[in-house]
Symmetry: C2
Subunit: 238 residues, 2 copies
Amino acid sequence: MDERVVKANVAVEHDFRVSRLAAPLRHSVVDSIRSAIAVGRFKVGERLPERGLCEMTGVSRTLVREALRQLESEGLIHVLPHRGPVVAAVTPEQAEGIYQVRAQLEGLACELFIAKANDATRKALKEAFKQLKSAMSSNDPSIRVNAKNRFYQCLIEGAGNEALGQTLHLLNSRITVLRATSLQVPGRAKESIRELNDLMEALLAGDAAAARAAAVRHVAMAAEAAIDILRREHPADK
Amino acid sequence: MDERVVKANVAVEHDFRVSRLAAPLRHSVVDSIRSAIAVGRFKVGERLPERGLCEMTGVSRTLVREALRQLESEGLIHVLPHRGPVVAAVTPEQAEGIYQVRAQLEGLACELFIAKANDATRKALKEAFKQLKSAMSSNDPSIRVNAKNRFYQCLIEGAGNEALGQTLHLLNSRITVLRATSLQVPGRAKESIRELNDLMEALLAGDAAAARAAAVRHVAMAAEAAIDILRREHPADK
DNA sequence: TCCCATAGGATTGTATGATAGTATTATCGT
DNA sequence: ACGATAATACTATCATACAATCCTATGGGA
């Protein structure tokens, strides 16, 4: 029963099977709300009444609520009892914590990449880095962040650790806005590229210790920029 | 309006305010299903029909579905389109990945603990370690795991990094069963305590590098035991 | 004028019932 | 024994309803 499939796929890289096109509507709902938050359509601390989300998304309360449950456990929103969801704030302390964790995990990603990457994943990473460099000259912050995400995705891919990928994704989703704005700090983009250059060299040279160090350093610098912004924009609210 | 409260609390350590007793029913539902999985009431790969869960928990489908969304994003279950949720399997490769991440994060926790812990948190950790040692002689695996969780909780508490705590919690929830069974491997409990002893010594001596190394080593050993079990129990299904 | 309390509105928390769509199983004819 | 079709069992989604609770506004009293 498998023979035919094998034959059909013999000259193919990614098989053509439609990957469960039964995309449940609720996934779109999650995406919609998530990106509304990321884009700043809702501000930090703002309430998200279910009814409003129903209108915005055009689906029933059932689906909106299910989406909220997921966003809640991603940490993007907080749900206050009998008050409903609000966009989660990120305090400077929390941001620092997140960046500390990211540093460790991206360090690990580098080590694993060196140990496990093959020609394909290595090539993909180089390509992504090239595109990242050109994206950094763009003015649109979302283009920059997207390019950077793709770069990291290649890194993770090559590292071949599923949990690592998911964890980093989760952490990043909580600081999307921060990442976009911190890349707008004058000079930060170029500096960022310089740091990643070091990273790439170490990665391709197979120097695990240097790669990890470069990753940690890069995250630390990004953290500094981001936390600066945070401190400035809400010096002592609460 | 606050004065009275302040007066009332002046001689109190933990204030008595009932911390939002409005615990939504749905939280209990999540806990219920989660522990049913952890306890082995449902086996890996087994389907969890909504209706059955309604009967088990005594709540409506609405709540069950919301709970499922949360468990899904915690990675405890997979939801197949039009087939519903099944208990997520953990392959040896995934387990390896999870343990690699854990190693990094627990290493970080140690470093942060040394940098940030105060007398209270240090004392709590020592106490938790003492109880852990005695719990290890118990035959009940859940008692052992619980004691260990409390120990880690103290460590995290002292490290003062929220994201770190949440991330580790998430990872651990995916391998609860594994952790319980791997502690039953003959000799593993004692060995585990020995490793943690090293960890404690380094922590209390303030030797960050040694503490991190001990943490990494401990997780690596645990990983080995756990993955062994996994390989044995599903050598090549699929 | 200012404070307090009560009433009313808004929103969440939870349940129920309904319908359509899809995957799995059972059935049946050949 | 095999393939097609019918029956079944779920999920996916919606609409509706009602109690509980929070917030606000209104109005009375000092």
